[in-house]
Symmetry: C2
Subunit: 430 residues, 2 copies
């Protein structure tokens, strides 16, 4: 059984964090000499053990669920926290899918020979040590571990206190699989103190930890950025948009309605759910049909002045509604006169996560794709596809809203950097 350790009085937290990071460095160095086949074997063993130990993991999860009230979790949060046989099977399936991917480590990204005969290659290598700070969903624990093992990185996991028993049980399975496959056990470590100060201390260890990935609420991420001396890849909010263009009607009203409804209703509380829908003034009929369908699904509508005039029962939207990630059964609706206006609105209020255009006009689609400044830009499909699994990455360690290093869903290859490998035959520089 998992036994998360509370900080014992007298234990030196600085020493604990330094030692944790140092073990990760040693494990990371060792991982670089372990073959992809062996790392994949560890992944398949994790998948098998997750399924074999499902009962233990569910029991540990029940201990977390029992404490949910204590932490003031909402019903939706408890649902995200809960593990059952089916969810554990899905976790194992993700791990197996990652095991089946091509090894990113050692890939030659680019290679050429210079006029002086020097052979120059950019070769993918692991980042080294990854610190992953996350909340709530325990399936993220196995996803993150699988992506880091695949990419030969050592991982330090700092989950939320509300999932401490679940994460402990999953981490135990991972360590057993690492041992069985001959990988260093410290390749995946869980921070096993609930002392909040540990995160602050880890964030100063830029000599040992190569990257920090916080995944959770915006306040968590801002706090990490503020404290960290280590580069951070941020995963901010998803204030996603669907823009229904003046040439959308040719797609057929049903397709437009289906996409709009799916983009909000299928899972209203996730980051790639759509929060605002913009309609070209010529698409007023579509606006009415979409609004009717959304109301039928129990979605609350908040509209601009023109929307309110067109449709009954729409609340007037305030300025703050355009920049809000509702994460709820609410949509903001706005009528625009041009594609330019839609693009400007999204670039102003959006969070650079995922934004879609519905149109039959290729010029409108291309203009939107080029000009909206966002990680994921979509044409004629639901924003809900913005996801590592849907993109074929097996899982994602997060959806980066940063522009540096990785943008959008991050898979195993995004957990790598590269080396320039230069091979010569005695060249010197003049």
């Amino acid at each position: 059984m998992s036994t998360p350790v509370q900080t014992t009085p007298g234990v030196d937290l600085d020493a604990y964090c330094y030692d944790l990071a140092d073990r990760a460095v040693v494990a990371g160095r060792a991982l670089t000499t372990i073959s992809g086949a062996q790392r994949d074997q560890a992944l398949r063993t994790i998948a098998d053990l997750l399924e074999q130990r499902a009962a233990d993991i569910i029991a540990a999860n029940a201990r977390d669920i029992a404490r949910a009230d204590e932490f003031g979790l909402t019903g939706a949060m408890v649902d995200r926290l809960r593990l059952d046989e089916a969810r554990i099977k899905k976790m194992a399936a993700s791990v197996r899918q990652i095991a089946a991917q091509t090894d990113p480590v050692g890939q030659v990204i680019e290679g050429y020979v210079r006029p002086n005969g020097l052979s120059i290659q950019k070769v993918r290598v692991p980042l080294g040590v990854v610190l992953f700070i996350y909340e709530s969903r325990p399936n993220v624990t196995s996803d993150a571990a699988a992506l880091c093992i695949k990419s030969a990185n050592a991982l330090i996991l700092r989950g939320g206190k509300e999932a401490i028993f679940s994460n402990g049980a999953i981490a135990e399975v991972i360590r057993e699989a690492l041992d069985a496959a001959g990988l260093p056990g410290d390749a995946v470590q869980l921070v096993n103190t609930s002392d909040r100060a540990a995160v602050g201390k880890l964030l100063k260890l830029d000599g040992q930890i190569d990257v920090v990935i916080p995944r959770g609420g915006e306040s968590l991420i801002r706090a990490v950025v503020k404290q960290s001396m280590i580069p951070v890849i941020k995963h901010y909010t998803g204030n996603c948009h669907v823009y229904v263009d003046e040439h959308a009607a040719a797609l057929g009203a049903q397709q437009v309605v289906d996409i709009c409804v799916n983009a909000k209703v299928q899972r209203p509380g996730v980051c790639n759910a759509t929060e605002s829908m913009l309609f070209h003034a010529e698409a007023g009929d579509l606006l009415k049909q979409v609004a009717t369908a959304l109301i039928a699904e129990g979605i609350e509508l908040r509209g601009c002045e023109r929307t309110c005039k067109l449709i009954d029962g729409v609340k007037p939207a305030g300025e703050e509604d355009w920049s809000t990630e509702f994460l709820d059964k609410i949509v903001a609706l706005k009528v625009v006169d041009t594609l330019d206006e839609a693009v400007a609105h999204i670039n102003r209020y959006g969070s650079r996560h995922t934004d879609a255009i519905l149109t039959a006009d290729v010029r409108a689609a291309d203009a939107f794709v080029q000009r909206v400044d966002t990680a994921n830009v979509m044409v004629n499909c639901s924003t809900r596809f913005s996801d590592g699994g849907e993109y074929g990455l097996g899982a994602e360690i997060g959806i980066s809203t940063d522009k540096l290093h990785a943008r959008g869903p991050m898979g195993a290859a995004d957990m790598t950097t590269y080396k320039w490998v230069v091979r010569g035959s005695g060249q010197i520089r003049n």
Copy 2:
């Protein structure tokens, strides 16, 4: 003539910085819709104007040189600061070489179709707004501008006070070329206040500026990292190594001596010059020959105990010598018993910049390449090749010692991010 503005009392620095960044955002957005041909035209015009205005630029540079004493610049620093006809021709040549490269913007990095018919592409796009903070060499001004124009980024330049007139004159030429080619003039802006507080204020504008690249001394970079809310790509010191393996003799002593001498002597004060040389115990003869050649070149040698026993006139090296970037005519020498020991030494004391092995044994070369954690790992050539120009990038905005986003010499393609572009035909998620 360039006229750098000192902050006028009464001018609001916050407003100035915000406005500067805002102009950059607008220029950056405009650049995304300007063709590669037009951007290349601007680059060729910059190159032409640099040559045509050489006399003006040299006159401005003379004003900086005249103030060098005031800023306490050393002889080497004054040399780096000085512009002449030949150096300006080289600046123009770099700009022309960048103009001739393939446009990185719009490149499809990856593209595939998912089983549900969604077409998914990762497409290169500009980062947006780049803040570049640098010291001394004014040629860096045109290099950075050229790389950012090539990659369709807006650039804010903050040069050192010691080069303020030179940078102003070069920036003026750049603005004229941007105007002539129909590009937004604000695509390249110089921070034209010498108020040091301006940098601190710009570093808080994470809503407008996408990346900060500081290039200069370690204290400058550390100060930027500490203050910045914007992601920083760091260019720390180059504590570079050459390891002469036990199988190096088969290369011929002359090749080993030539490479070692070139790695230190050709330009001792730059970041890719070698600071420490490690010799396998079996390569004692090579150590003697290299030491003799280095002494003949006027290099001061500091050695481990075994080196001091082997060679006369070597000062004992202290622990701090192994981690020092001398940037001077000094080399630290150490005898090691194994390749493992060499790798461990470099991973401990190196700065992850550039490290080379000299060996005739392919297994030793491969082990070194795999296990040394460095941006540039070289086999049988001089560390001095670690350079954007030598790699064929035309120029470099710096040599990143970071692992995130870009590592080693950074060219125009490294000034881009990507968008996921997803094209569907009505897909919704189940």
